[in-house]
Amino acid sequence: MKKVFIIILLALIGYFLVDTVYNIPFGENRIGSIESDHPTVAGYYLSNTVEKSRVANVITAIVVNYRGLDTLGEVTVLFLATTGIASILYRRKEEEEDVERLNLPSSMLIRTGARVLFPIIALLGIYVFIHGHLTPGGGFQGGTIVATGFLLMLISYKGFNTNHNIMAWIESIAGLSFILIGVWGLISDNTFLGNIPEVGKLNSLLSGGLIPIIYIAVGFKVAVELTGILDILLKIKPNK
């Protein structure tokens, strides 16, 4: 009975959504020109990024520069999630020795493959977040790729341990550098996260002023945090 009721509810919601979306034609050009009475933000970003920010990837410029506060908030959410998970699964010092990672025994194929793939994956991830301003990608994407490499190692090898001390240091330093870059903008230019775009020429690695630096810090932070979360979630005290 409950199932029927829910199916009807879902059908109603589905109809409601389709009806709404129907009025938003697919592929229609909503950017318009920036001369009109109601200029859209997208038009402004597309026309002005090259001159004003000297960054090739418009999305990176949006994420790091125009809407930098959102990115800061997002980095904060990740950090708070890590802190929250650490406090939810809090173990006192005595219990630390009892926990172990529950690993199924892995075959030789997996073990060898993981060892070969891990540095390649890490390298790819680092490449992605260093080139975030030139190619699709950036801090979050690259950090996630690196963390995936770590995940591969974590589930293939029971004995693979990440050094929590180093990870905590990298995380804190990366986060602090993001904010300190912003504060420097606040002191020198009177706006938080102000950029100095004149450095370098377009499409080279050294373009866009502070944007690549911020993204690199974000990349490290995300990689370390995701690995930390995975590590905590994988360690379970076996129910005796």
């Binding site: 409950k2 199932k3 829910i6 879902l10 919601i13 589905g14 959504l17 389709v18 979306v21 938003i24 034609p25 697919f26 592929g27 229609e28 050009n29 909503r30 950017i31 933000v41 997208a42 970003y45 597309l46 026309s47 990024t49 090259v50 090739a56 990837n57 418009v58 999305i59 949006i62 994420v63 809407r67 959102d70 990115t71 908030g73 997002e74 959410v77 990740l78 708070l80 999630a81 929250g84 998970i85 939810i88 699964l89 030139l134 190619t135 699709p136 950036g138 979050f140 377009l202 499409n203 995300v222 979360i229 905590i232 979630l233 379970i236 005290k237 129910n239």
Partner: protein, 132 residues
């Protein structure tokens, strides 16, 4: 050039492509909602929430598409393509939303671990000890 061919295909199959993008995202949202409401296993409920998020993100990015547009990156050779690029703002917003959705999912999973440790089960009907 690739763009013209793609434009032709787009015009001919406009309905299907629209259906594909919008329909998939709405279907994902409904599937996720179904999982959240109907499933008994806690992990499946969290996966359902994650699927709802995926549907919304897909809808967002799909709506940002502009016919005949290219990726909003000014690589060499595309310097003057500013007026035929897709909308970059939804992509930037979805980037943030994906990470936030991930954070929420990971916190939910850690809570499930703790609930499992206490109750030795992951089924929601056996865990409801807090009532109105």
């Amino acid at each position: 050039m690739m763009q013209e061919e793609f434009n032709e295909i787009f015009v001919k199959y406009h309905e299907i492509i629209t259906l594909g993008v919008y329909g998939t995202s709405i279907a994902l949202m409904l599937i996720g909602l179904y999982a959240v409401l109907m499933k008994k296993n806690l992990v499946k409920i969290v996966i359902g929430l994650s699927i709802i998020d995926a549907g919304i993100h897909l809808l967002f990015v799909g709506i940002g598409y502009i016919r005949g547009g290219t990726a909003p990156i000014f690589s060499p050779g595309y310097e003057n393509a500013a007026n035929r690029m897709v909308d970059p703002v939804p992509q930037a917003l979805v980037l943030t939303a994906i990470v936030i959705g991930f954070a929420v999912t990971s916190v939910a999973l850690s809570l499930i671990i703790r609930l499992y440790k206490h109750h030795n089960t992951a089924k929601i009907d056996q865990i409801k000890s807090l009532k109105w």
